[in-house]
Symmetry: C3
Subunit: 119 residues, 3 copies
């Protein structure tokens, strides 16, 4: 059931999305928290209209949100966030002179109301 949504500021293009998608899914699916590899749905979104802070020096960001059914331990969540961060740390372009920020967020999804099925 996990959903992984990765956004990045368009000034980091070209972002190696395809390679990163493969590595993110391998890293997250290798966690004991993910029982069925096909459950992980990852998407990349390039954000064209953005601003980081209030100063005009060159800045970019990559942010990942991993949405999981509630109930994981704090340790399991921290481990999952680090799996995502490790891949993004390696794959995110770092244009010269640009401050690039990386962040990863874990979101608990409401379990009782969650619907999931194969069509």
């Amino acid at each position: 059931m996990p959903h992984l949504i990765v956004e990045y500021s368009a000034n980091l293009a070209p972002f190696p999305e395809r390679k990163t998608l493969v590595e993110l899914n391998e890293a997250v699916c290798a966690s004991p928290e993910v029982q069925t590899e096909a459950d992980l749905k990852t998407r990349f979104i390039s954000q064209n209209s953005f601003a980081v802070g209030t100063e005009s020096s060159p800045r970019g960001f990559v942010h990942a949100q991993l949405r999981l059914l509630a109930g994981r331990t704090p340790d399991a969540k921290a481990d999952l966030a680090e799996r995502v961060a490790a891949v993004l740390r390696r794959r995110t372009p770092q244009p010269e002179g640009m401050l690039v920020q990386l962040s990863v967020e874990i979101v608990d999804m409401d379990r009782p109301s969650y619907v999931k099925e194969r069509l």
Copy 2:
């Protein structure tokens, strides 16, 4: 106040977005939880850059997120999720040989800090 965000993997195109938007809004606004039909704001997003799991067989997904002010009962939330699922189950394309996953998530929004107005 509900916000409904539907994402689908672009390999499900052509997705009948217009028809589905109409049916989703009718289904959700018919719930006793929605008091003013104009409050429901639904959007469709086609995701072009995605990966499902780690295997290379054809896979697609449709995922809906319904964001509501906190305070609904578990039964009300499950009912709303099922209203959304019922429409997507019927309208989501199912290309031959592709594993298509459907999921619906209910999100509680923080009520005291929520701002809502008509301009």
Copy 3:
């Protein structure tokens, strides 16, 4: 660490995104809750495929989501939401004859699992 995501229905175009980004970041970074201005990452998303409610009269919306590490007081959250709303209230186009809705939502992000670094 705050993330600010502003979506608007495409029938509000042309939306003055650049000016609004600058003003949003000034307004939010002026809050005592934001310690480092560079931490605020704001993006604009125009939604092309949308429906508001079930009636066919002209309707549009702008919705902002401000994601912060958990732990702010209710007053601090309400103040932040109002800072965002004040800018959007002023900058959102209001086409004649269209019902335009504005909403602002504050989201608590899980603090222990949050990853944040500069690359």
